[in-house]
């Protein structure tokens, strides 16, 4: 019991540190790829601290509700993951974060955040379906949705789920809000929708959402590590490789439209996943 409580406190804190650090690496690496110096690794933390110190301001009270709910859900999902719970429950809880992000963004009459909310919904649809298919694959291989059963597998899941891993990479790109799928709000405020779903969140609310975003990425990378859960080095290397690949892709790819994302990107990813699932059963 005490152990669980300690874990429940330690996991979100560690995940925040890790997520911030990853964001720092991302910014530094991207800068180097673009022949810039780039900020220090601690810059994301400094940014968030600065945001938290700013004045609270909303155009609709829901914008104060949503970030807290979003962050809470993201942290809770991670704790469940650390406790080796039911993957479906983890995904359902994780989903709540996205729901509240969109609800807060839609609560403002701003055309930018409204339009981006629609895109965010399509992005959520793309990611969620693929994650649930991963859960299905986990069930078909281990006979259970509980993560605790995974360590008993003799060989890495990746051998049996190559296509699903490709689909997961697509979902990771969408979730990290990276080109070519930084449609509903990217890291730069110069896209046609300003900052998309984040346009109307300011100050501490934006800070909370930034932290929630870090936690989401950590959860995705943790799910990525499930694909090679048989050895500890691989559990670290595989997500790291995926993370670096997304950053590389971000720097070489131009942005695509959401129609492309939904039609070709998600369509292909879903078909690949379905194929992969069907041969698992046989």
């Amino acid at each position: 019991m005490m152990q669980t409580a300690a874990l429940a406190l330690a996991v979100p804190c560690a995940a925040i540190l890790l997520g911030g650090l990853l964001s720092g690496i991302d910014r530094r690496l991207t800068a180097r790829l673009q022949s810039r110096q780039g900020p220090p690794l601690s810059q994301p933390f400094l940014d968030v601290i600065k945001l938290m110190a700013k004045e609270r301001m909303v155009t609709n009270p829901w914008q104060a509700f949503s970030p807290v709910a979003s962050l809470g859900a993201a942290a809770f999902a991670l704790v469940f993951f650390a406790l080796q719970g039911d993957l479906l429950v983890i995904l359902f809880v994780h989903m709540v974060g996205g729901v509240f992000l969109v609800l807060g963004a839609m609560a403002s009459p701003s055309p930018y955040s409204q339009t981006a909310s629609q895109r965010e919904l399509w992005q959520m649809l793309s990611c969620e379906t693929l994650l649930f298919l991963i859960a299905g694959a986990l069930y078909l291989t281990t006979g259970s949705f509980r993560l605790s059963e995974l360590s008993a597998l003799p060989e890495p899941l990746l051998y049996r789920l190559p296509l699903l891993f490709a689909a997961f990479f697509f979902a990771l790109t969408v979730k990290m809000r990276k080109s070519p799928f930084d449609l509903a709000g990217c890291h730069h405020a110069h896209q046609e929708l300003v900052r998309g779903v984040f346009t109307e969140y300011v100050g501490p609310y934006l800070g909370l959402l930034e932290i929630a975003h870090w936690l989401d990425i950590v959860l995705y990378l943790a799910i990525c590590s499930l694909f090679w859960a048989t050895s500890t080095p691989a559990m670290i290397l595989l997500p790291l490789a995926a993370f670096l690949a997304v950053i590389m892709l971000d720097n070489v790819a131009a942005r695509l439209t959401w129609r492309w994302m939904l039609g070709w990107g998600w369509g292909a990813a879903f078909v690949l996943s379905a194929l992969n699932l069907s041969w698992l059963k046989g």
Partner: protein, 638 residues
């Protein structure tokens, strides 16, 4: 005592309906409706199962002839309606039912050998409480609603007596349908709900209303015919009408599969499964209490009840596989069609069809866990969907439109109704509330079947999308201060508040209910997976676990934290929405040409070309028909 309660639940609504019809004073009618709703609520809570094996037998001498006579009367009325509106289809369907029923009644059915008239198990208990509590609240909400509804119509003579009489009759019919143990009596109540739905849908007497009511009548008439054929087939297999006995006697009997398939088809028409969704969508023209009643607690629930009741008889056959696929397809396709809808009531309608598909799929999966999930879904769906229909109806009377875009920013205009509606939508899509628990149980029960699992994943993602979009649209407004709860009659606010509390809190009861459901269900199913009812506060299946109490506590904590954040934000300085720096004093306007304020209009992406019903209805219906034929084929395959 316990034997008298089913009779009370059956008789009181009929008497109250009669009183409503006869007494024309509005105050008396309100009193009768309130008293009946309260009485039914209390009696349904007092009802306990199981009853004695000869329950109700001493009244059989009265009830049997009354119901048989009622059957002929009902069919005659429907026949007459077919003639009056010159609807050949209805005439044919009712005439064949009339002939078949007379033949069965006089030449086939032997004298009953002392089977119980009523049976109460956990499934019927859940259903009775749904009918009496949710249905009762809907009737209460209807009192002020119908008064406002008639103000626009300039009627010479109020038509409310008929309306409330049929509403109460409907509750009685549903109670009878759920409590009876005799399949022939079940048929009577089944037909009675058909006639009631016709009367309720046609209530406004517009051309559209009557047309849609006739569609409902012929589709459900077809369901009635299928049910009668199924009864004939089942009776010829085991020479009894006792429902519990029939389930036990037909399980594992390949010759009984065809009648069982007809039974399932009848259930599908009643529950408006694809390709019979048209009548339920058409029923949207009726006043909101009708839609709420048809969609949440009565009518459509009769179909899924029948399928779940007989699920043990066809578990693990090709018929069950077909039903699972057909239900899964309806879940997915109706959710996709809901995305392309900008009519709020139609979104609710498609979502109902979709969720019922999920419940049918539960009956098809046919494990104790899946059937328990189906029963839980019936309960949670009734509460959440009843709530949403009442909210949309209340909103509709204020904004005079069902268009989602017109309801944009409803929470600023009607904070009470708007917020409860958003809450109701959250209880459908977000853990730890009931609907999501049910869906989780289906995920866990159905993951063995890859095709079904794919449909499940797609359907639930689509469901999430359209609910979040609708909730966000209601919230969208730039208003930050001056929220005044709108002034509504107590009878409007009370059902909303009660259903809202129910939708939020009922999820907590899921582990207990699930545990209680599993025990009797496991004894009913010949083959089933091992299960564990789990610890208290934990929902456990064979393949996963949902720590409900923990999730609930954390959700409450996060909610409170977020609300305290809201109260802090309310006192702070207010911002304006970003309009590229060209804001005006109006919250959603920017400075346009000639320094005139221009409203920034953004609408949701409904993607009508991709998800529109005009484009897809035909194809979806063809696919669903194909799946149903597959199911029938599965029944014929020896």
């Amino acid at each position: 005592m316990s034997e008298a309660i089913p009779v009370v639940l059956l008789i009181v609504p009929f008497l109250a309906a009669l009183a409503c019809f006869v007494i024309r004073s509005s105050a008396c009618r309100s009193f009768i409706v309130i008293a009946t709703a309260a009485g039914l609520a209390v009696s349904s809570l007092l009802l306990q199962g199981p009853l004695a094996p000869d329950a109700g037998l001493r009244w059989a001498g009265i009830i049997d002839p009354v119901i048989t006579g009622g059957d002929f009367l009902l069919l005659a009325i429907m026949f007459f309606l077919g003639c009056r509106y010159r609807n050949f289809l209805i005439i044919m369907l009712t005439a064949s039912q009339l002939g078949l029923f007379a033949w069965l009644e006089f030449f086939v059915f032997a004298e009953d050998q002392g089977h119980a008239l009523f049976a109460v198990d956990i499934l019927s208990l859940v259903l009775v409480r749904v009918v009496c509590l949710v249905g009762g609240l809907i009737c209460l909400h209807a009192i002020p609603y119908m008064q406002a509804h008639e103000q626009h119509q300039n009627l010479a003579r109020s038509r409310q007596p008929q309306f409330f009489a049929v509403l109460l009759l409907f509750l009685g019919a549903m109670n009878g349908l759920v409590l009876t143990n005799n399949l022939a009596h079940f048929y009577f109540f089944f037909e009675l709900t058909t006639l009631c739905s016709f009367l309720l849908i046609a209530h406004d007497r517009t051309e559209e209303a009557v047309g849609n009511a006739l569609t409902a009548l012929w589709m459900n008439g077809l369901g009635g015919l299928l049910l009668l054929l199924a009864i004939w087939g089942l009776y010829s297999q085991s020479a009894q009408l006792d429902m519990g006995g029939l389930v036990a006697a037909t399980a594992g009997n390949p010759a009984a599969l065809l009648p069982l398939a007809l039974l399932v088809l009848a259930a599908c028409t009643k529950s408006a499964q694809l390709p019979w969704q048209k009548w339920l969508l058409g029923a949207m023209v009726a006043p909101t209490p009708t839609s709420a009643l048809l969609h949440s607690s009565t009518m459509v629930k009769a179909g899924v009840y029948l399928a779940l009741r007989f699920a043990p008889a066809f578990a693990h056959t090709l018929l069950a596989q077909g039903l699972m696929l057909a239900g899964g397809f309806t879940f997915f396709a109706a959710a996709a069609l809901a995305i392309g809808q900008r009519n709020a009531k139609k979104v609710l309608a498609y979502s109902t069809i979709s969720n019922l598909g999920l419940i049918f799929a539960c009956a098809g999966i046919g494990t104790p866990g899946a059937v328990a999930a189906g029963i839980l879904l019936i309960l949670f769906h009734a509460v959440s969907k009843g709530l949403l229909f009442l909210c949309v109806g209340t909103a509709e009377q204020q904004v005079h439109s069902r268009d989602i875009e017109v309801m944009r920013g409803l929470c600023a205009q009607m904070p009470f109704t708007g917020m409860i509606a958003v809450l109701g939508m959250l209880t459908i899509i977000v853990p730890p509330f009931g609907m999501l628990l049910g869906k989780w149980l289906v995920f866990e029960a159905g993951a063995d079947h890859v095709v079904f699992y794919l449909m499940l994943v797609l359907g639930s993602s689509f469901t999430l999308l359209y609910w979040v979009r609708l909730a966000g649209t209601l919230l969208a407004s730039g208003q930050t201060t001056g929220f005044k709860p709108e002034i509504k009659p107590f009878l409007t606010r009370f059902p909303l508040a009660a259903l809202g509390c129910g939708a939020v809190m009922l999820g907590l009861a899921a582990p207990i209910l699930y545990g209680r459901l599993l025990v009797p269900l496991t004894s009913l199913f010949p083959v089933g997976r091992a299960f564990s009812a789990g610890q208290a506060g934990m929902l456990t299946t064979a393949v996963g676990s949902f720590p409900l109490i923990v999730v609930f506590a954390v959700a409450a904590l996060i909610g409170l934290l977020a609300l305290s954040g809201v109260s802090k934000a309310m006192v702070g300085r207010k911002g304006t929405a970003y309009m590229s720096g060209a804001n005006t004093r109006l919250p959603d306007h920017f400075v346009g040409p000639l320094n005139r304020p221009v409203r920034a209009v953004v609408e949701n992406a409904y993607l009508v070309p991709l998800f529109g019903e005009e484009r897809w209805t035909l194809w979806v219906n063809l696919a669903a028909t194909g799946l149903l034929f597959l199911m029938l084929g599965g029944a014929l395959w020896k």
